[in-house]
């Protein structure tokens, strides 16, 4: 890894030049007192002093709705695959969201490679940034508080009077060389970076009271816990937790016709396993009829099913679901309650 | 001499249901009933006990055609009741939204509902082929008006952003600029509309009538003002009940209203008659071209007056937008302090003056409401017009007379769905 250092003023002009010269630059901007990733018209729009955005940058890799095919009916129908991949520089991605991208890279890259995801992924440059945890963040508990090494092109950390820039890829290096004035990092800079990281770790308050790698095992024993019943009673089946989650990637597919009923497209749209009909089949049979089984499924996906398959937790600790669940269902409380229950049983 | 019965069950191409029943004997209208079998919907009762801020979204549902007008009248009535004074920016945006509705509704009525009569077509559907250019122009203007209301109000019908206290969301500067550009680009379509209606044969028929409209000293009134009559008297809005006298007559089916005479009219023609001096230049030209000057007493020309008003509000909107842009848009929020009280809102909606009166208690709940819609005010006038019209049709066929009567009803653009005060009565 190469570490460079930029003066703060130089960071602003770097961003300004990215906005001016690269085809698309997005970053966190304010919206009704929160933050969202959005187009940057100028560096003034960018607000790096944020905790999490409402939606993770997933929306650029796997948009809420996306066209897969376009077709024109006829004999034979003319069908054309659509792979949209607008080049994009995403500025200010936090470590948890980089981990989220690590996760969707795995899920969409496994076995049958998802061509649409891959095309977008290849067209995106990720410039990470360190963050300001709030009471919902628990990244340190799932090991996503440090920038995922292979996931970013550049990663910027504020060390007080300057910023360090980690170079994660050739693409990142090229951008830096082309648009930024930076210098070699000194031992003092490195110390500053370490200090900043420790400060951030100390600032993360929410936590899972268990080593994350133990979670698949823990969940093995608690699938019939009364806790699921309690959560099911509170859950609105609103899907908020799915939709805001950087590692939820389920989708629905359907055809949309134009009014001429001759041309149309096949689209995919975000779906969520907490929604009532997620597992309903023709004939009306619902394989996860009750809210409790849907909530449970979601937790098992994050901390057991996908974790077992890919080796690391599919929860990034970003706390988005905790923030957006009106019923206050959140991973730290849920996991800690399950743990306490398992420990009680053991005793 | 002609003798026959007219019985048009559901006059078509009006918003809502209206039945026209008449008995003509020897060319005289012996019996005439303009019936409104619309279901009563009890809005005044339904909002009792509701929180004051719920009145606008609920009363908006009185009428889908003038839902913006209902929303604004309701907001105005509530704000007057609780003692809230809206900001200038808020008022400018309300005017802009109101203007959007005026274009929306007037274009709909003039082109889609009234024009087919004037060219002898049963509806706009065949016109889509025979007069494609005209229909496409109507669609363009209508689309503009709808997108305009979407932009300012958040939705074309039942606006979302306009609330007691102000706005939940403002348009952006770019959006306002874009709207301004689109409105100015549409002015040629407005001129073409004036040309079109100038060439159409409006029936010649006049009956002396009292016209009522809101009036303000400094501008053509849409939102608030005093109640001015072509008879010369002026009534402050809070005293509306002294001017708008509601009554029920035994042979009628709807609650009606009268002013100085047995009946009065509200609507586009009433407004142009009352506020002619405040029309913008483009609208003045249109009025000239269409032969309207105060006081014009041909009810068929209400449609022409609508065209004049379209010209007026389009031009006025350019000015409103300029003023908004000059001031710069500011996030003001919409928090209010509510105190108990009674307040009246008066808004000129496409079909005439709409009154919303509310009484609010100390807990911010509505204890009483009175809503008077324009079409109810016009009912008696429509009937009086019909009585005067039939003898002038001497020698015409039964079909022609029926059509002339139907057209007259349609010219009022009656929006009967606003059935807060409309009732169906079975007479024995």
């Amino acid at each position: 890894m190469t570490l460079r250092v930029m003066e703060k003023g130089d960071l602003a002009s770097f961003v300004e030049r990215l906005i001016a010269s690269e085809p698309g630059a997005v970053g966190p901007v304010r919206k009704d007192g929160k933050h969202v990733f959005a187009r940057l018209a100028s560096v003034e729009d960018l607000d790096l002093a944020y905790t999490t955005t409402l939606l993770p940058p997933k929306k650029y890799l796997f948009p809420p709705q996306e066209t897969l095919l376009r077709f024109r009916l006829g004999a034979p129908p003319v069908v054309e695959p659509v792979l949209e991949a607008p080049p994009l520089v995403v500025i200010g991605v936090h470590p948890c969201d980089l981990r989220g991208i690590w996760a969707t890279d795995r899920a969409f890259g496994d076995d049958h490679v998802d061509t649409n995801y891959r095309a977008r992924r290849e067209a995106i440059t990720l410039i990470g940034a360190d963050c300001l945890p709030d009471e919902h963040c628990f990244c340190t508990s799932v090991g996503s508080h440090l920038p995922e090494p292979a996931s970013f092109d550049l990663f910027v950390t504020d060390i007080g009077d300057a910023v360090t820039v980690e170079i994660g890829s050739e693409r990142g290096r090229a951008l830096l060389e082309r648009y930024a004035r930076s210098r070699e990092a000194t031992a003092a800079d490195l110390a500053g970076l370490q200090k900043r990281r420790h400060a951030k770790e100390a600032a993360v308050k929410a936590r899972l009271n268990v080593d994350v790698q133990m979670l698949p095992l823990l969940l093995e024993s608690v699938s019939t816990s009364p806790l699921w019943e309690q959560l099911g009673a509170k859950c609105l089946s609103c899907g908020n937790c799915n939709l805001v989650c950087p590692t939820c990637y389920c989708f629905d597919v359907g055809d949309l016709m134009q009014l001429n009923l001759e041309e149309g497209e096949r689209i995919r749209r975000w779906d969520g396993c907490t929604l009532v009909d997620f597992a309903t089949v023709a004939g009306g049979h619902n394989f996860r009829r009750e809210a409790k089984s849907r909530v449970r499924h979601r937790y098992y996906r994050k901390f057991q099913y996908l974790m077992t398959r890919y080796g690391r937790s599919f929860c990034t600790g970003c706390g988005r679901c905790s923030r957006s669940c009106l019923a206050h269902i959140n991973p730290p409380e849920t996991i800690n309650a399950l743990l306490a229950e398992a420990e009680r049983e053991e005793a | 001499m002609t003798s026959f019965d007219v019985n048009v069950h559901y006059v078509t191409r009006v918003e809502g249901h209206g039945n026209l029943k008449a008995r003509v004997r020897d060319g005289q209208l012996e019996e005439c009933r303009w019936e409104v079998p619309e279901a009563p919907r009890f809005f005044e009762a339904m909002i009792r006990g509701r929180a004051y801020h719920e009145a606008p979204p609920i009363t908006s549902r009185i009428c889908g055609i003038c839902s913006i007008g209902h929303t604004l009248a309701s907001i105005q009535g509530i704000e007057n009741a609780i003692g809230f004074v809206p900001s200038e920016q808020t008022l400018l945006l309300r005017t802009l939204l109101k203007h959007g509705e005026t274009v929306q509704s007037h274009i709909l009525h003039a082109y889609y509902l009234a024009a087919p009569d004037l060219v002898g077509a049963p509806s706009v559907v065949p016109l889509a082929t025979s007069h494609r250019e005209v229909v496409l122009r109507a669609v363009r203007l209508h689309r503009l008006a709808n997108e305009w209301c979407d932009l300012i109000g958040g939705r074309t019908t039942h606006p979302i952003r306009a609330v007691v206290g102000g706005w939940t969301r403002l348009p952006t500067v770019e959006e306002l600029r874009g709207l301004r550009q689109r409105i100015s680009e549409a002015l040629p379509d407005v001129e073409a509309t004036v040309e079109l209606f100038r060439a159409l044969p409006f029936p010649a028929f006049e009956r002396e009538t009292e016209y009522l409209a809101l009036r303000k000293p400094d501008e053509y009134a849409w939102y608030g003002g005093d109640i001015a009559s072509t008879d010369g008297d002026v009534t402050p809005l809070p005293q509306y009940r002294s001017k708008v006298k509601e009554f029920i007559v035994p042979h009628s089916t709807a609650k009606r209203a009268k002013g100085n005479r047995s009946s009065y009219a509200v609507g586009a023609l009433a407004r142009v008659n009352v506020n002619y001096d405040q029309l913008r230049p483009l609208a003045k030209q249109a009025a000239d071209a269409l032969g309207i000057r105060p006081v014009t007493c041909n009810p068929y020309l209400n449609t022409a007056a609508q065209v004049v008003e379209v010209a007026h509000v389009m031009e006025d909107s350019l000015d409103v937008i300029d003023r908004l842009l000059e001031r710069g848009l500011r996030e003001e929020g919409y928090a209010v302090q509510a105190r108990p009280g009674t307040g009246v809102g008066g808004v000129e909606v496409p079909r005439g003056t709409l009154y919303h009166e509310y009484t609010i208690d100390a807990g911010g709940r509505i204890t009483d409401a009175n809503l008077i819609i324009p079409t109810g005010q016009n009912h008696q006038n429509i009937e009086d017009d019909l009585r005067a019209l039939v003898p002038t049709l001497e020698g015409k066929s039964r079909e022609e007379i029926t059509l002339a009567m139907e057209m007259l009803v349609r010219a009022y653009d009656p929006c009967i769905s606003c059935s807060t005060h409309l009732l169906e009565v079975e007479f024995v």
């Binding site: 009704d32 007192g33 929160k34 969202v36 409402l54 939606l55 929306k59 709705q65 509170k234 859950c235 609105l236 089946s237 609103c238 899907g239 908020n240 939709l243 016709m257 009014l259 001429n260 009923l261 969520g272 929604l275 009532v276 009909d277 009106l326 | 078509t12 191409r13 918003e15 809502g16 619309e38 279901a39 009563p40 919907r41 009890f42 005044e44 009762a45 339904m46 929180a51 549902r61 889908g64 055609i65 839902s67 709909l108 509902l113 509806s123 706009v124 559907v125 669609v139 709808n146 958040g154 019908t157 039942h158 979302i160 609330v163 939940t168 606003c418 009732l423 169906e424 009565v425 079975e426």
Partner: protein
């Protein structure tokens, strides 16, 4: 063969029919794909051989029931257009007060002249094949439903709540703005129009098929709404639902 369509209305504000007109150019296209046989609000032509009936409004008078039944007998497909037809809509607010009282408030001593019954959705009297929810209907959804009918498909409504579309639109949740919202129990399909415009969802599209109303009411209470407020909330657009009683 273009399917023959007719448009009807019962007690309502006619804002939903208006959305048909508001389709603008798309309406011209549509008129090419279907054969409009009657539509009182827009045309004088009138024929009774329709196959698809778009019916707006709720049933609020005894005398409307036979008319609705006649429409049902003729139509192969009966579509409830808008909240009033689909769920009873705002008209059903009056069902929560004694009918005599409602009459008296509005009509005083003339009250006895009226034929009025509690407002009910069409489905309270006849089978309904499809619905376009909302007050007013969403034009995009309206077009989707019409297209589905033209393609021979039973239109399916989302069974998930408005929150889904609200999150996709990346709105700040109105609960975070200090207000409360019907979104979590309201059927999606409007692309979260009200929250996206800075307001709160009032529930005009009706409830999702399986609302967790208890949990929702608890959340409203937690956000400072009184029991009275909460009931009022449920008694605006979903008055006829069980959870509003």
């Amino acid at each position: 063969m273009r399917p023959k369509v007719a448009v009807f209305d019962f007690g309502c504000c006619e804002g939903c029919q208006l959305q048909l007109v508001n389709l603008e150019e798309a309406l011209l296209d549509l008129v090419g794909l279907v054969d409009v046989r009657q539509w009182r609000e827009a045309m004088s032509e009138h024929a009774d051989d329709y196959e698809i009936a778009l019916v707006e409004g709720s049933i609020t008078r005894e005398s409307e029931i036979p008319r609705l039944e006649a429409i049902r007998r003729q139509a192969k497909v009966l579509v409830a257009l808008g909240a009033c037809a689909h769920t009873g809509g705002i008209n059903a607010m009056k069902n929560h007060m004694p009918m005599e009282q409602a009459l008296e408030i509005v009509y005083g001593d003339k009250a006895r002249w009226f034929d009025t019954i509690p407002a009910r959705p069409l489905s309270a009297y006849v089978p309904v094949d499809a619905a376009v929810p909302g007050c007013p209907v969403d034009r995009q959804e309206l077009v989707e439903v019409v297209k589905a009918l033209l393609m021979g498909v039973t239109p399916a409504l989302p069974t998930y709540p408005v929150c889904v579309e609200c999150k996709m639109a990346e709105n700040v949740c109105v609960f975070d703005l200090g207000l409360t919202c019907m979104g979590p129990v309201t059927r999606a399909g409007c692309r979260a129009r009200c929250p996206s415009n800075g307001n709160r969802c009032l529930g005009c599209r009706g409830l999702v098929p399986e609302p967790n109303a208890n949990a929702h009411k608890e959340i409203l209470a937690e956000h400072g709404r009184t029991v009275e407020d909460i009931l009022a909330e449920y008694r605006m657009f979903v008055s006829s639902a069980e959870v509003a009683q």
